[in-house]
C-alpha cells in the first residue's frame, strides 16, 4: 500500500472507517474538532506509520515552537524589566555614589546614608541587590581610583548591606552565582570572611574551585601558592588564569601583602605553563636577587621558558646578562633571536651595537634583520651612526628595511613585550 495513492472513491455512508486514506470523508462543523481529538487521542492508529510519524513530528515541533516562543517573549520581558529596574536604581544612586567614591577623604557610613537617603528601614529585594552589585562594578570601572576610593566603596557596600548578601549567596547560591560573587568580591576588594570562599577550594565545579583557589592566594600568608597546581600537576593553567593571577598579585601589592618568592615555587611545580608564568611574574613583583636566578632558565630546552626568562630580563632591564644572551643567541630559532635582540636593546644598548650589526648580517630572516636594525636605530647616537654606515653599503633588497626603521610614522608603533612575533 502506498501512502501516496489517495485516488480511491468509496461509499461514505459507512460508519466505521478503517482505512480513511482510501475513502473520501465529509466532515462538517464541530465534527472537525472531534475528528482531530479522536485522532490525537488514538495516536493516529488508523493511519500508516509514515503518516503517523510525520504527524507526531509536526505536532511536537509545533508544541516546541509554542513553548520556545513563550520562553523567548518571557525572557525579553524579564530582561527589559531588569534593565528598567537597573536604570531606576542607577538614576537614583549612581551619581551620588560616584561623588562619594571620588572624595579625597574617607566618608563614614552615617554620612553616606545621609547622602543616599537610606535609613534603617530601607530594604532591597534579591534582584535589586544583584543589580546594585552590577552598579558597583560599573562604578569602579568608571571612576579614577584615589587612595580613599576603595574604602568609600566598601563603606557604601556596607550601607546597602551587600556584604551580608554576598556571604549568603556564597553559601546558598548556584555555582555560577558563587563564581560571579567571588569575582565581584575580588574586583571590589571587599573584606569577606575567608571561610566563605576557602570552603569552595575542593568544590566539584572546576571553575568555582579555581576561583576559590585564586582567592586563597590573597587570604593565605603561609603558603599562598599551595593550590596553584592541581594534585597531579596536570591541571591546565590557562591564559585566563595568567591574567587573573597577575591581577591578584597586583591586588596583594596594593594592600601591602607580601608574597613569597616565586623561585622555590617554580622548582616545586611540574606544570611548565606555571613555571613560565612565575618567571614572568618575577619581573613584575620579584626582587633583584630573585631576578638573578632567572639566568639559569636561559639554558632551558623548552623554548617558551627561555622566551619567558628573556621577557622578564627585558622588562626589569636587568644588567649583567649581556654576555649570556650573546652566547646563546646563535643556538636559538629566529623568533627567540628577535626577543634576545629586544632584550639587549632594553638592557645594554650601547655595548651591543656591534652585536646588532652582526645579527643583521648573519641571518636570512627579514623579520630578524628588521629587528636588528630597529635595535640599532633606537640605541642612541652611536647606534644611529652605525645604522647610517650600514645603510650606505646595503644592497637594493635590504634598503627597504632601513627606510622602514627610519620612518617616523611606522616608528610610532611601540614594540609590545608579550606580543613580539
Amino acid at each position: 500500500m502506498s501512502i501516496f495513492n489517495n485516488n480511491h472513491t468509496v461509499d461514505t455512508s459507512e460508519f466505521l472507517i478503517n482505512k480513511p486514506w482510501e475513502k473520501e470523508i465529509h466532515i462538517v462543523n464541530s465534527d472537525y474538532m472531534k475528528h482531530y481529538l479522536y485522532s490525537i487521542t488514538g495516536f493516529y492508529k488508523e493511519l500508516p506509520w509514515a503518516v503517523r510519524t510525520s504527524y507526531s513530528i509536526i505536532q511536537i515541533s509545533c508544541l516546541a515552537l509554542i513553548i520556545l516562543l513563550y520562553i523567548l517573549f518571557w525572557d525579553v520581558r524579564r530582561k527589559k524589566s531588569i534593565h528598567n529596574s537597573y536604570i531606576k536604581l542607577k538614576n537614583k544612586y549612581f551619581e551620588k555614589l560616584k561623588d562619594i567614591c571620588t572624595q579625597e577623604r574617607e566618608m563614614n557610613e552615617t554620612e553616606i546614608k545621609d547622602i543616599l537617603s537610606i535609613n534603617e528601614d530601607s530594604d532591597f529585594s534579591y534582584s535589586e541587590k544583584l543589580l546594585l552589585i552590577d552598579m558597583f562594578l560599573e562604578l569602579k570601572m568608571n571612576i579614577t581610583i584615589n587612595q580613599n576610593s576603595i574604602r568609600n566603596i566598601k563603606n557604601c557596600i556596607k550601607v546597602f548591606r551587600l556584604q551580608e548578601f554576598m556571604e549568603e549567596r556564597l553559601i546558598k547560591g548556584k555555582d555560577s552565582e558563587k563564581l560571579k560573587i567571588i569575582q565581584a568580591v575580588r574586583f571590589l576588594q571587599i573584606n569577606i570572611a575567608d571561610s566563605y570562599i576557602t570552603r569552595l577550594i575542593n568544590h566539584r565545579d572546576k571553575d568555582l574551585q579555581k576561583a576559590a583557589r585564586l582567592y586563597y592566594i590573597i587570604s593565605n600568608d603561609e603558603d599562598p601558592f599551595r593550590y596553584m597546581e592541581g594534585k597531579d600537576g596536570n591541571d591546565n593553567f590557562l591564559a585566563w588564569d595568567m591574567l587573573e593571577t597577575h591581577q591578584i598579585f597586583e591586588d596583594c601589592r596594593n594592600i601591602n601583602k607580601s608574597l613569597p618568592s616565586f623561585i622555590p615555587a617554580m622548582k616545586q611545580v611540574n606544570n611548565n605553563y606555571i613555571v613560565e608564568f612565575f618567571i614572568k611574574e618575577t619581573a613584575y613583583w620579584g626582587t633583584d636577587k630573585e631576578m638573578k636566578y632567572l639566568t639559569g632558565y636561559l639554558d632551558s630546552e623548552n623554548e617558551s621558558i627561555v622566551k619567558s626568562a628573556l621577557e622578564s630580563i627585558s622588562l626589569r632591564k636587568t644588567k649583567g646578562e649581556e654576555e649570556k644572551l650573546k652566547e646563546i643567541y646563535y643556538e636559538q630559532p629566529e623568533n627567540i633571536k628577535r626577543v634576545i635582540l629586544f632584550t639587549l636593546l632594553t638592557t645594554s644598548p650601547e655595548s651591543s651595537l656591534k652585536f646588532f650589526s652582526e645579527a643583521f648580517d648573519n641571518t636570512s630572516s627579514q623579520l630578524t634583520k628588521r629587528m636588528a636594525l630597529q635595535c640599532l636605530w633606537k640605541a642612541g647616537d652611536e647606534g644611529k651612526k652605525l645604522f647610517a654606515a650600514m645603510e650606505e653599503k646595503t644592497d637594493k633588497k635590504n634598503k627597504i628595511l632601513f627606510l622602514h626603521v627610519k620612518d617616523s610614522i611606522i616608528n610610532r608603533e611601540k614594540l609590545n613585550l608579550h606580543n613580539i612575533n
Binding site: L137, F187, W240, H404, E413, N421
Partner: protein
C-alpha cells in the same frame, strides 16, 4: 514502474526530511548545552576590566579585504577602529579596487605611503605599497595596496603578511562590528585550552539604524528575502555552529567574522587563493596541521 518510482521518491523525501529534522533537533539540544555553559561564564565587567589592564592581553589584528567598496568604506573602517579592546590594529587590504576605494581612504584618514618592509610569509599577488595615517588617532590603521587576486583568500594572505599580532580576525569590510566584538571572541580563547579559531555570530543589518559606523537601533529587515536570510543566519550561527562547537566539531568558521591564531594559519599554508570556500578549506587545514 511509475508507481514504484513515485513511491521511492516519496520515501526518499520522507527519510531525508526525517533525518534533517532529527539532526536539527540534536543540534538545537547541543546548542542549548552551549548556551547553558556560557551562562556559567565570568562576570562581564570583571573580565573586561581584567583584559584592559593585563600586560598578558593578546594583541589582535583585524584583516578586512576591500574590493570596490567606495560607498561604504569610510563608515565601515570607522566601525572597525571603534573597537573597545586595548591592543589591536586594523589592516584594510585594497585588493586592486577599480573605483575610488583607496582614494576615499587616503582622503578621509589622511593616509600617506610609507616605506614598509613587507615580508611575504604567504605568497600572494604582487604587493604594491602600504599606507598609514599621519593622524595619531588613526595610528591603528594600516592599508595594504595590492594587485587584484580574484579571491578573498589572496587578500587575506596579504593582510596576514602585514599583521603584527598573534591573533587575527578575518572579516569583510562591509561588516559592522559590535564594539566589544574582539573582547567576546578573545574570552573563549583565553579561558579554554587549545583554541585555534573562534566563530562570531552574524546577522543582517538591513532594517537597523546605523550612525557613525555603529548600530544604534537593531531591527529585523523589512523585506521578505532578507528576512529569510536572517532566519538562515540564525540557523547557521545559533544552532549549527553553536551545536557543533559543543562537541568540538565545528566544521567551518565563517569568512564573514572569525578569529584565528596567526601562526597556525601561516604554518598551515595560509588561505588557499584558488578556493572560493576559503574559510572551510582553511579550518580543515588548520585542524590537520595541529
Amino acid at each position: 514502474m511509475k508507481e514504484f518510482l513515485i513511491s521511492f521518491y516519496g520515501h526518499t523525501i520522507f527519510i531525508y526530511s526525517l533525518g534533517l529534522i532529527i539532526s536539527y533537533v540534536i543540534l538545537m539540544w547541543l546548542a542549548e548545552i552551549s548556551i547553558l555553559r556560557s551562562k556559567k561564564n565570568n562576570l562581564e565587567s570583571y573580565a573586561k576590566d581584567l583584559i584592559k589592564r593585563s600586560p598578558y592581553t593578546p594583541g589582535v589584528s583585524i584583516v578586512a579585504p576591500a574590493y570596490n567598496e567606495e560607498l561604504t568604506i569610510v563608515e565601515n573602517v570607522n566601525s572597525l577602529l571603534a573597537q573597545d579592546y586595548p591592543l589591536f590594529e586594523v589592516i584594510i587590504v585594497n585588493d586592486g579596487s577599480k573605483d575610488g576605494t583607496l582614494q576615499k581612504l587616503i582622503e578621509n584618514f589622511d593616509l600617506v605611503e610609507v616605506p614598509y618592509a613587507y615580508v611575504a610569509q604567504l605568497k600572494t599577488k604582487p604587493y604594491k605599497r602600504m599606507f598609514k595615517s599621519t593622524r595619531p588617532e588613526f595610528a591603528k590603521l594600516k592599508v595594504v595596496d595590492k594587485e587584484n587576486g580574484g579571491t578573498k583568500a589572496d587578500a587575506v594572505n596579504a593582510g596576514l603578511n602585514a599583521a603584527s599580532f598573534p591573533y587575527f580576525i578575518n572579516t569583510d569590510v562591509d561588516c559592522i562590528l559590535a564594539k566589544d566584538a574582539i573582547f567576546q571572541c578573545v574570552l573563549p580563547l583565553l579561558s579554554q585550552e587549545n583554541i585555534i579559531a573562534v566563530s562570531g555570530a552574524m546577522a543582517l543589518s538591513n532594517g537597523c539604524k546605523v550612525e557613525k559606523g555603529q548600530i544604534t537601533e537593531a531591527y529585523p529587515p523589512h523585506k521578505l528575502i532578507p528576512l529569510f536570510q536572517t532566519l538562515e543566519y540564525m540557523r547557521s550561527f545559533l544552532i549549527g555552529k553553536m551545536g557543533w562547537s559543543t562537541i568540538n566539531a565545528m566544521p567551518n568558521v565563517s569568512g564573514g567574522y572569525g578569529l584565528f591564531k596567526t601562526d597556525v594559519v601561516i604554518s598551515a599554508g595560509g588561505y588557499s587563493p584558488d578556493s572560493f570556500a576559503e574559510d572551510m578549506d582553511m579550518l580543515i587545514r588548520m585542524v590537520a596541521y595541529c
